[in-house]
Symmetry: D2
Subunit: 263 residues, 4 copies
């Protein structure tokens, strides 16, 4: 018979075996990211943030990342789009970071580990590699052929070595906050429901300041079953003013070793 | 602020809202399935089965299903391959059914609901629609371009209306057993670890007896990170003798209303 | 050395060998089609029609087809969307048929044979299987995640056996007209430029009258390089009034044996 | 009515309009290539080469290329695998180059232009981005989930600036030879059949010497309709000894302006 061991890490299906030891940092050797942020309505944004998080700015941040040379994926990769809000966690300790509203990814394996191991709200979308023509980049996200997000970016100025150093020192670690929710079976309510922390380190080798623009398309139930409310909610948030955009190329380390449940 | 309600069903991301009421049956109006089974080594098979399940036959069942007109997916669909073993659950009650070793699916959304809501061990693979040339059908599963499963089937005899009626009466409900395992964050061991039951009803509108053949290819870590041990384990199980194969077309109802945790 | 034979049919790459004999009919055993047509501006439509074709109606026909059990593809299949105009070929003989403006397909192999062997103007798009929820069907076409076509259809009334018989008798053969154009190398102008005829037979096993709606989205050069003018041209044609829609399920035979160059 | 102009370049569908002027060079700003070559049986290789080409070495060259920032594709890209043989064209002039046996690409648009405009024998395959783990790279090609090519590469030594300069000077231009073959309609034989030249320039910004290994899998008709003979022919060529492998990153310019028909 198959027996579970308490010293072992498993993921479903567990009965083919797990792996020993504590979770290790996961290195992504080749990551290109484009970040576009804008101010939006404070009240509408707060409605998505659970206690004990407190919004620190009324800003929505959309980050596109193309990840390659991912060690735990045998050197393969995937594309993702993270949508978050700057917050502080304020119960018993204060931690500044980004409350993640949703992450779209175009591969299932990191969606599963992110949801089940660290409570990151990852769901699937088709996400092309970004297209680059001169200093213009264009990215999108779609589901079953229905576009719901367009991101335009223009590189304005490449960072100098000194600026890059400062970027890596100031913005090198991001505290991503999630909420791991596992439902009861066959009835409403939660079997697990807790805030989580999942830090990530970035070492950029090149970076560009730039201007970005976002366009959301609200999809309907017949276009994006289950998840259409997300596109509707995000498309209703007004875009009041854009912040400076940023594009980086470099290495990212997911700190599974520092991930933890908050309470 | 966002507040969770105990009367509501959520899935991550929860903060865009959930849905009320008890889980409902999910109808798949158009499902084509091909089932191939073979006897294999009893001891090797038992090594994958956790207590309190007891193997009732030393048989591995591989079922390919092409699902379309799935109501909860807005009428869309997906393909899947279920690998299971006939067992009985024997603690406090006796329930006959199929212990599911692994389910490969080519869409992420049903993978997420299956894993998180009912403990079905679903992972991603590329699964083409089956090819049919005369009475021969061919299906496969692959990951990132690496084939790991080939299924051949030949229709030998279409069932008569009387045989079809008997099939629907005898094999109409399948008790699928899973094991919902959600890990601790940042350390080994389980936050949740429990056996689950997820019944499914089939009403076949047409069926064929036939002969099926299976070929497993063992993938290596660089081909199928994380999940290669599954292909290695299944390819090592000897194929002693094939049972009769079966192909059906019809309607399937997933009984989310009857899904429950076993203990 | 490799030598070409005049009695052999080749396709690039030719040097791995060709196949003997005259072209044969190609049977598609399982085809689901949805056809939506509308009246549009006569002058704008005529601008796309070359001599010696004459428009017989100011109608644009959009037909979605999901093809499976295609013999020449080893029993596999593909999805396509054909956009055409009712015309007559009027040089030396009169042949009624459909002048094909564009065909989008989601597989490359039939695109190549269609273009090179019969002058069908096929290009690539992502085309999902249609979604069906009750009597509503929804289909789309997109490129690199950018939606450019939406087709809605509602089944109003299934045809009786007598109506089906009449349909098969009246609409069973479609004369598709194309224009095979192969350019000079390294300079403007044509190496080959000729009208073509490619008949197709349909035997419907079931059919529904219904109501269809079409929405075109005009894509820009950065979204759909090379082919964006097609989406712009079609989206500019006014939709004056819809004709009755039609959905069929059945068998289609491409009459490669009757395909010929017109002149 | 639509009228063709002799001063215009068209591709099917032509009636939406063409573009003026002579063909222009096409720049691919970001190309990663891995080249593996091996000596094979001279006689078996010659059987694929038509006159007036003469094999200059009994070598098969397999080159994987990941192309991004392709100007004519709006800054998008695609992956391809080119299989060729070193030859000289020897009628009326002598041109050294590579006779292309087959090119697999994972996008349809460049397949169409390559075949129709320059006679490059391009067909479709699924081709993942290469996976890189440390100094090891792994790539493959498959069709409908059936793997037919595996390429392993190990970086042994990065080239010095002096070596890179020499590489760009010596290997910077490749004369690719094709054979444009367009069949008659409805009967055997050719409407067009002529040798073609399509030069390409490479400017590498980084390069690695390395060791590569190739594994071909012969597919059957039910796995790879139409094109399975190519996988069978290539898998039968013996691998006598490998040449040094090469990996480059840089810019490629397709010289459409120098492409021409040979005769």
């Amino acid at each position: 018979m198959f027996k579970f061991s308490d010293d072992t890490n498993y993921a479903m299906p567990a009965h083919f075996g797990g792996w020993p030891g504590r979770p290790q940092p996961a290195t992504y050797h080749d990551v290109t990211s484009i970040t576009v942020s804008y101010e939006t309505d404070p009240g509408m944004l707060t409605a998505f943030i659970p206690e004990p998080f407190e919004k620190t700015e009324s800003v929505l941040t959309i980050q596109y990342s193309m990840c390659r040379r991912v060690d735990w994926m045998g050197g393969g990769g995937y594309n993702l789009i993270t949508v978050g809000v700057p917050v502080a966690y304020v119960r018993r300790e204060r931690i500044e970071g980004l409350y993640v509203l949703v992450i779209w990814e175009n591969r299932t394996a990191p969606i599963l580990t992110g949801r089940e191991q660290t409570g990151m709200p990852k769901i699937f979308a088709d996400i092309e590699d970004p297209h680059q023509l001169g200093d213009r980049l264009l990215a999108n996200a779609s589901y079953d052929g229905w576009t719901f997000l367009r991101m335009d970016f223009r590189q304005v100025k490449q960072m100098s070595p000194a600026e890059l150093l400062r970027l890596n020192q100031q913005a090198g670690t991001v505290n991503a906050f999630g909420w791991r929710y596992i439902p009861n079976i066959g009835r409403p309510g939660a079997a697990l429901s807790l805030a989580t922390l999942f830090p990530q380190d970035l070492v950029a080798g090149a970076a560009w300041l730039g201007e970005g623009r976002i366009h959301w398309e609200a999809l309907s139930p017949e276009q994006y079953h289950t998840y259409y409310p997300i596109t509707q909610a995000l498309s209703q948030l007004p875009i009041k003013s854009y912040r400076d955009g940023l594009m980086t190329q470099g290495r990212v380390v997911l700190r599974n070793d520092l991930a933890r449940q908050l309470d």
